[in-house]
């Protein structure tokens, strides 16, 4: 019921693909869905760019987090050394004036 009209304004095929990819990124909390689809040639760099731009508007903190996680996992010899609590990374609860 709540989502009865969610797609009442039919998105284009490209938009639908972008929405699907962004939803996968949000659900997985990492860049794997994007990387997998790029590797398989399912999408091109422009589609990947669209998805990342939408995610940047949707939740920039999440985009930063999953990008950082991906960089740490890919490039650090010991990702465990880079571990920080997620809330601290996001800066939540640290408002100061």
């Amino acid at each position: 019921m709540a989502s009865e009209m969610a797609f009442a304004e039919e998105p284009s095929t490209e938009e639908r693909a972008t929405l699907k990819l962004v939803s996968q990124l949000v659900a997985s909390g990492n860049l794997h869905p994007l990387i997998a689809r790029l590797r398989d040639g399912e999408i091109g760099p422009e589609s990947a760019r669209d998805a990342l731009q939408v995610l940047a508007e949707l939740d920039p903190a999440l985009l930063v987090q999953i990008t950082l996680d991906s960089l740490i996992t890919t490039y650090l010899d010991d990702p465990g050394l880079a571990h920080q609590p997620r809330r601290a990374v996001r800066g939540e609860g640290t408002v100061s004036e």
Binding site: M1, A2, S3, E4, M5, A6, F7, A8, E9, P11, E15, T18, L19, V22, S23, D50, Q53, V54, E57, L58, D59, P60, A61, V95, E97
Partner: protein
Amino acid sequence: MNRTPARQGIPGDEDSGRVADEPLSEVSLLRVWPDIAGSLAPEERGAAERALLAPLVSARDQDLAAALEVEPGDAFNFVLVSGTVLKETTLASSSALELLGPGDVLAPPLSATRQLESRAASRYLAFGDASIATLGMRFERVAMRWPQVSGFLHRQIAEQAHRASMHLAMLHLPRAEDRILALFADLGERFGRVTPDGILIDLPLNHELIGRLTASRRPTATIALQNLYQQGLLTRHADNSWKLCRKFSMELAGLEPATSWVRSRRSPN
């Protein structure tokens, strides 16, 4: 578009000059801004209502540039009497939208010189049917007789400026869902009707428009709205009206002001 010529007359002139079955071509600003009446002595209200008659312009889904075009000195402001108007302000390749409702003030278009000097250009677009009253010389004379009227106009403009600032702050919320919730909280307050299961907002806003009102592109607005539907915070009806659910509050959504100076001012101590 339908422009009605301004009537001649002075404040207090009791000759309406209007035939009973003639379509409404004027409106008393006392009906648009009923709060003005409260600031007037009861015996003056009748005269004020007549003196505050203003010519009406009506339009539907169109740029209001032509409707708001006036000779210099003819009109200094316009008031939205009914319907909604979108104010679009463009700077470089970006544009921002504001939604104006009944009682809101519209500025006359900038002169050609001012437009060249200004870094940003604004235009008004009727969103559906809109009726707009002109505040001209007659209003100025009324304001001289009843200074409370210009006091009210100033407060109205200040309130509108505050709302624009609030909109600006809303655009700084990083998450699209939060921006949309803050937008609907504002729309609910201004245009909503309380029903048993939420606040009904009868505005046919589509995803594109919601995106533009919240600095998001359409696909972002679509995903954020989808999430809000799933959380049961917002519903869209088949007639394109919206409902902000009863359990929604700015506090619950984490959208209350978080800075210490606001908290200290709101604290009972």
